[in-house]
Symmetry: C3
Subunit: 200 residues, 3 copies
Amino acid sequence: MSWIYIIDLFGTCVFAISGVTTAIHKKFDLVGTLVIGFVTAIGGGTIRDILIGSFPVGWMSNRHYLLAILAGYILAYLFKKNVLRFKKSLFLFDTIGIGLFTVLGIEKALSFNLNWEISLILGVISACFGGVLRDVLANEVPLIFRKEIYATACLAGGIVYLVLIQICPWDYIIVPAAILTVSLVRYLSIKYEWQLAFND
Amino acid sequence: MSWIYIIDLFGTCVFAISGVTTAIHKKFDLVGTLVIGFVTAIGGGTIRDILIGSFPVGWMSNRHYLLAILAGYILAYLFKKNVLRFKKSLFLFDTIGIGLFTVLGIEKALSFNLNWEISLILGVISACFGGVLRDVLANEVPLIFRKEIYATACLAGGIVYLVLIQICPWDYIIVPAAILTVSLVRYLSIKYEWQLAFND
Amino acid sequence: MSWIYIIDLFGTCVFAISGVTTAIHKKFDLVGTLVIGFVTAIGGGTIRDILIGSFPVGWMSNRHYLLAILAGYILAYLFKKNVLRFKKSLFLFDTIGIGLFTVLGIEKALSFNLNWEISLILGVISACFGGVLRDVLANEVPLIFRKEIYATACLAGGIVYLVLIQICPWDYIIVPAAILTVSLVRYLSIKYEWQLAFND
């Protein structure tokens, strides 16, 4: 197992925690929270795979993703009362997760001979649309459309990745640099309360 | 036509009735109710086929499914004032329908060489996600996440099916046994008001 | 570039404007409005392509669709204060757009050897489901289910198209006739306030 694969599974698990936590707050039952956790975790990558025509979709290739989601589900219930204590760790993993999901999405799209703009869009979809599906199923306006500079961070990280694979001679720093960009944009946007809305 | 195919069409028709009835209550127009009936009836199987990459998706293979949906649409309008009188029959058909949809979904997934956990998930998706799409389009929180032990019943029936195809020497009782399990779990859950929510 | 392709891009741009405008009213941020514009513009054709198994889906084949969406996005912000002044032009383009999307959807489905009823349904899906996705993401009940004879107009135009390709000897009038039918039904439905709801 490569370290990329391990982060991928970690990201899946954290996404599942975020989905299950949302669903618990909405008073869903045990099955409802599991479904939401599942959809949140695999939704983005699934939409990407469907759009480019890669079947069966990613999470079906082996059992690891299901186990990662199950772990997230159990963790979310175990720590649901003191989830706030772990908020910073969760935020860190989540950010690393969306950074990696963006990169993996772009890589997969490029390997299907799609051009870089389409690949960039597919990278952002991979990272963000799990959360969009979570919010749609929970009957909420998707969070990424309003509050957080989530998609923008993915977009920035994706562009850094696309530029570096063209010009950077050191392969091993490209993915970390892209993930770092996502984290940095997201962190700064929260710290300085950046908003992308027009106010007039 | 095998009896399985006939139940499949029956289930499709009943699912359409459930969708159209929901949409009538939400004051959708004639087209809106038709769309909701259609999506409810074919949604689960369509999502399953897309995820495993079976194209064109199931209901496109012939006209029978469309006719079953049309029949459900007409029936829903004909009996919309005394739908309560038929509630028990509808419930019975609906339960047999989700039982069969679960089994057919698992069978199809297995025939695509997917492992049993994934196949089980795809069976439950086949049976439940038509209703999820119905509720999302009607702008409601999906029913299965909150009120009914719907997905759980499918899960139980699916596990019975997967176990029996391994150990049971009499082929012809496997599908009925799985459907019976779904019906029993669902019936008991309503009778004894089982709930899967944590109350604390 | 054929004139059909040009109208296709025009329709895509107008659909994007409709999505972005909806999203601005819901106070989405710059990324949210872009995503909604994007999904509205390519949603219907994407669902059609996924259902029939045509991958990668249509808008990925080249950059024109992305540019059309980007143009719609910029136009929507430039004219957002006097969008009412352009309402009639937008309505005209939108109607021509859905008419053409219906026809293109049917053509593509027929070219995949699907029968005419399925092709008709896929034509209507191509034209209408971008708007459905827009409304679902904006957490609204889809407009086409309640207010406008939108899908019905597409259905009428689609039937005219299917009849004419069987009986009409002059190829070049078929598509215009279908688009004209869509426009006419939609125009008349608004002028005379047709409604498809049962009132009892």
